[in-house]
Amino acid sequence: MSLVHKVLKKVEARIWAASYDLKRDAFRVALENGQIFLLRRPIPEDDHSEVLDVYIEGDGEVFTVVQASGHEFSVPWDVIQALSTDKLRTPDPEVGKRIGQRVKAIRKERGMTQDQLAKVSGLKRPNISRLEAGTHVPSISLIERLAESLQINISDLISTGRL
């Protein structure tokens, strides 16, 4: 099998069916390519509250979970595959450091304090401080908020290249 064929097959792994198995406290997911997965809770973004509904969105790109707390989250097909094989890699701490250093440098360049950035971005100041220290890798949604607040591109905070 050629590499191109392998990659194409991976892209075609759309979600065909998704449901919640109360007895096992897990999500059952079937992909169009015939793979079936049992994803035991908690999964990323899960707030542990009761699952009210599970439905497939778009072209089978994701399944969305509605929880009793009002929280909703979507799980993309590639995350399903990664979760099921325990290959969901933990973020590289170096990435957190790099993003933290960039946020700090750009914030200072803009003449902003951590308090001001917190106000503009809607984040809490201690979280900004923690992020700048590089002690954790932020989620992409948080990075998007910071990029918007600092009026820069998201790629300027994330990409490995030099600014």
Partner: protein, 63 residues
């Protein structure tokens, strides 16, 4: 432009964006960290412009 770009809070590394056509057909994923496609698809001029406009791709990236 005819594309839909989606990011998920709980998604796995590296940081990436899912790209779909306006009709919801999956095109593939673009790795924002390493500035390259994660799947086998061509970054057309139109797609490249959209990625740059939305800030996912840096202008100097030619991958």
């Amino acid at each position: 432009m005819g594309f839909i770009f989606v990011t998920y809070a709980g998604d796995h590394p590296p940081f990436h964006v899912h790209i779909l056509t306006a009709t919801g057909r999956n095109i593939g994923r673009f790795d924002i960290e390493h500035q390259c496609p994660m799947d086998n698809f061509e970054v057309t001029k139109r797609l490249k412009k959209a990625l740059i406009d939305l800030g996912y791709m840096r202008e100097e990236s030619e991958k």
